[in-house]
C-alpha cells in the first residue's frame, strides 16, 4: 500500500485509526466521575499531541537516523510560527498559505544553520546548534521586535491588512470580531460535540487538520526511513570513515537530512500558529529544544512511532498531571485513617501539580536505564512476553524449550 511493506502499512493504519478516534480514546472516563480529570480529549491538548508529534518525528529523522543531536530545533519551530503568523496577518486568515510558508522559511533557516553547524560532529555540533537557537531567541526577543513583536509576541488583530481577505475561502470576520484562522471558511476552533450517556466527545476541525498533516508527515518519514537515502543516513551514524571510502559524500546527505528535519519543525510551528494565533519568543527557548530531545528518547530514538508516543506522554504529563492538586489527593486518600491520609498526601504531593517535572524526570531516568530503546522497546518486550506465554502454554518440557529458542 502506498509503496510501503505490510508491516509499515499496518503501522500507518493503526496511527490513522488512533488519530481518527482520538477524541473518543482520550476521553475514556464519563463526565463528572472522579477520573474525569484524566481525560485528555479536549481540542487544545489533542492539537498539541499531534503538533508535537510532527516536531518529534522530524527531530527523529535527524537524531534517530544519523545520531547528530541538535539542541536548536526550537529555532525552526519558532521561525515557522512567526512566518505562519505573518501570513495570517498579511495575506489571508486561511491556514494553508501560513503552513506552507512556515515550512519553507524554516527550511531556508535550517539550510543556513546546517551549512555551518555540520562542519563539526558530536558534541561540537550540538553546541553550535544550541548557540544558533539561543541567538535566534535573543534576536526574536529584542532586536527583531518589529518582526517578532519582541516580548509581547505576535497576535492576529482586527486592523491587520490581510490583502486577500477572501483568498481560498477566507474566514469569518463578523461584527468587528478578530477573525479566527480557518480552512476554506471552517474555523479551526469549531467543534462538533457528541454527548452519549455520560460521555462527552469533542470532534474539533483544528485537531483533524493537524492530525491529517501529522499522518502525511508520518508517511513521509516512513518513506525516508526505508529509502536508500535513509540507509545512507544510518550508515553515517554507524561508520562515517567507511562511508567516505565507499565513495559517498556525507556532507550533502547530512545537510539534506538537517533541512528536512528543520522543515518538519517549521511545519509544526506553522500549525501551532494556525491553531492558536499567538506566538512569543519563548517558543524558541532552549527548553523547547530540550523537550523534543526528551520526547524522542522517551519514545525510542530511531524508531518510527516512538517520537509520537514520547510527545504524547510528555504533553499528557504537562497538561494533566500538573492539574492534580492537594484537594484531589485528599479525596483519593480519604478512605484511609486521617493520619495515613496526611502522610500519603505529604509523600505524593511533591510529585504532582507543579512538581510534575519531578515525576517526568524519574520516568525519564527509569526508561533510559531500563529501556534504552524507549517506550517502543518496552512495548516489544511486553509483546514477546505475551507471545512466549501463548506458545509455551500446553507444551511442556524440552519440546517447549526447543520451540522457544529461535524466538529469543
Amino acid at each position: 500500500m502506498l509503496g510501503l511493506n505490510k508491516k509499515d502499512a499496518r503501522l500507518l493504519l493503526i496511527v490513522a485509526g488512533m488519530v481518527l478516534l482520538a477524541p473518543i480514546l482520550l476521553n475514556p472516563f464519563p463526565e463528572g466521575s472522579a477520573m474525569a480529570q484524566f481525560n485528555a480529549g479536549y481540542p487544545d491538548l489533542m492539537q498539541r499531541f499531534v503538533i508535537f508529534g510532527i516536531f518529534a518525528i522530524g527531530f527523529n529523522i535527524l537524531f534517530g537516523l544519523t545520531g547528530y543531536l541538535s539542541f536548536g530545533h526550537a529555532a525552526f519551530l519558532g521561525a515557522g510560527s512567526y512566518a505562519g503568523m505573518w501570513m495570517l496577518k498579511l495575506l489571508s486568515i486561511n491556514v494553508i498559505p501560513a503552513i506552507i510558508l512556515s515550512t519553507v522559511v524554516a527550511g531556508i533557516i535550517a539550510l543556513c544553520i546546517g551549512w555551518i553547524s555540520l562542519r563539526r560532529s558530536g558534541i561540537y555540533f550540538s553546541i553550535l546548534t544550541l548557540a544558533f537557537a539561543q541567538m535566534a531567541f535573543a534576536l526574536a526577543a529584542s532586536v527583531l521586535t518589529p518582526i517578532t513583536g519582541g516580548e509581547t509576541g505576535l497576535q492576529t488583530n482586527l486592523n491587520d491588512p490581510r490583502i486577500f481577505p477572501e483568498f481560498l475561502g477566507g474566514g469569518s470576520s463578523v461584527d468587528g470580531n478578530i477573525p479566527k484562522p480557518s480552512l476554506f471558511g471552517l474555523e479551526m476552533t469549531d467543534s462538533y460535540e457528541l454527548v452519549l450517556g455520560s460521555w462527552e466527545w469533542t470532534f474539533n476541525w483544528g485537531f483533524y487538520l493537524s492530525g491529517l498533516i501529522m499522518l502525511c508527515a508520518f508517511y513521509v518519514a516512513i518513506r525516508i526511513f526505508r529509502s536508500p537515502f535513509g540507509l545512507m543516513l544510518k550508515a553515517v551514524k554507524s561508520n562515517q570513515q567507511r562511508l567516505n571510502y565507499t565513495g559517498l559524500n556525507t556532507k550533502p546527505y547530512m545537510l539534506a537530512c538537517f533541512v528536512i528535519s528543520g522543515m518538519y519543525a517549521g511545519l509544526a510551528g506553522g500549525l501551532m500558529a494556525a491553531m492558536d494565533p499567538q506566538v512569543g519568543a519563548e517558543r524558541m527557548q532552549w527548553t523547547a529544544s530540550g523537550e523534543v530531545v526528551l520526547m524522542t528518547i522517551l519514545g525510542g530514538a530511531g524508531t518510527l512511532i516512538g517520537p509520537v508516543l514520547g510527545a504524547g506522554l510528555i504533553k499528557y504529563f504537562e497538561n494533566i498531571f500538573s492539574k492534580i492538586n492537594k484537594a484531589t489527593l485528599e479525596v483519593w486518600f480519604g478512605i484511609f485513617p486521617d493520619w495515613m491520609t496526611d502522610l500519603l498526601v505529604t509523600i505524593v504531593y511533591p510529585f504532582i501539580g507543579k512538581g510534575w517535572h519531578l515525576t517526568l524526570g524519574l520516568i525519564f531516568m527509569a526508561i533510559v536505564i531500563f529501556l534504552p530503546g524507549g517506550l517502543v522497546q518496552g512495548g516489544q518486550k511486553l509483546a514477546s512476553f505475551a507471545r512466549r506465554d501463548r506458545k509455551g502454554g500446553g507444551v511442556e518440557g524440552p519440546a517447549a524449550d526447543q520451540r522457544n529458542t529461535p524466538a529469543e
Partner: protein, 253 residues
C-alpha cells in the same frame, strides 16, 4: 606505464622524513606487495593514495588522473577501494545492508537525493548484493548484524563491500593482521581466487612473509622511507639489501 604511478613522493612530519623520493609503479592486473619493517612508511604511503594525507612533493597518478588534493570519496568514485587493517564496516547494520550501500554508491554516484525510493524494491541492487555475498560464502549470514560477525567474516564482508564496486585498484592494508592461521589461509585463497576471476589490480601492504610470497607477483621493499628494491618475488628473496633490512631479522625468528 602502470595503472598507479607514484613518482618522487616526499612526506615529512616535523623533522621526521617518513617518505623520501618514493617511486612505485603498479602494473594493471597484478598483485603488488609493499613490504618493509615497522616504521618504514608503508601506511603513510597508502594514506597518500587514498587522500587521507597529501605528500609534500611528488605525484600520485591513477589511471591518468592525479589523486592528490581530492577527497576520499572522489578517489573511490575514480575506482580505488580500500580494505583497512581492522575491518571498517557498518557495525549497526545487517550484513546485507552493508553490501547494498557500496552497490548504491557505485550505481548512483557520491550523492543522490533518493528519499522517495524504496530500498527493498530495488531488484538490481538486491541481485548485485546477493551475488557478492554468495561469492564470499556469506549469503547465509545476510540478516545478521555486522557487529556480531567473527573477525574473519568481518574481513570477508569488507572484501565483498569493496568488490561489489568492481574497483580498478584494490588497496589492502595488512589484510591478515591479527587473524588465526585458518582465517589467514582462507583470506589468501579468497584473494587469489578474486585475482584470477576478476583480474583486479591489488596493492597489498603486509607484514606476514608467508602471505606476501604466496600472493605477490611483484614486491616493493620500503626501508626508512625509501624504496630499496622493486622486483619479482624470487629476486627479492635473494636480494642482499633486502635481507639486511628486513628478511635477515625475520629469518632469525
Amino acid at each position: 606505464m602502470g595503472i598507479l604511478e607514484v613518482q618522487n613522493v616526499n612526506k615529512s612530519f616535523g623533522g621526521l622524513k617518513a617518505l623520501q623520493n618514493v617511486n612505485l609503479s603498479v602494473e594493471e592486473g597484478t598483485i603488488h606487495a609493499i613490504i618493509g619493517p615497522n616504521g618504514a612508511g608503508k601506511s603513510t604511503l597508502l594514506n597518500c593514495f587514498v587522500g587521507k594525507l597529501v605528500p609534500d612533493t611528488g605525484s600520485v597518478v591513477f589511471n591518468g588522473e592525479s589523486l592528490l588534493g581530492i577527497k576520499p570519496y572522489q578517489i573511490n568514485q575514480a575506482g580505488v577501494s580500500r580494505v583497512f587493517q581492522t575491518p571498517e564496516i557498518f557495525a549497526d547494520l545487517t550484513v546485507f545492508e552493508n553490501v547494498m550501500i557500496p552497490c548504491f554508491a557505485k550505481r548512483d554516484g557520491s550523492f543522490e537525493m533518493n528519499g522517495w525510493r524504496s530500498v527493498s524494491k530495488d531488484a538490481e541492487i538486491h541481485d548485485r548484493a546477493e551475488q557478492m555475498l554468495t561469492d564470499v560464502n556469506m549469503i547465509d549470514k545476510r540478516d545478521m548484524t555486522a557487529s556480531s560477525l567473527s573477525r574473519g567474516d568481518k574481513r570477508r564482508l569488507e572484501m565483498a563491500m569493496c568488490l561489489s564496486q568492481s574497483p580498478k585498484l584494490l588497496l589492502l592494508d595488512e589484510p591478515t593482521a591479527g587473524m588465526a592461521r585458518a582465517d589467514t589461509e582462507s583470506t589468501i585463497e579468497l584473494l587469489k581466487e578474486i585475482q584470477e576471476r576478476l583480474k583486479i589490480t591489488m596493492a597489498i601492504i603486509e607484514h606476514d612473509m608467508g602471505v606476501v610470497f604466496s600472493l605477490a607477483q611483484k614486491i616493493s621493499v620500503l626501508a626508512q622511507g625509501t624504496v630499496i628494491a622493486e622486483d619479482l618475488p624470487d629476486a627479492i628473496r635473494s636480494n642482499p639489501k633486502v635481507k639486511e633490512a628486513y628478511l635477515g631479522t625475520a629469518a632469525e625468528d
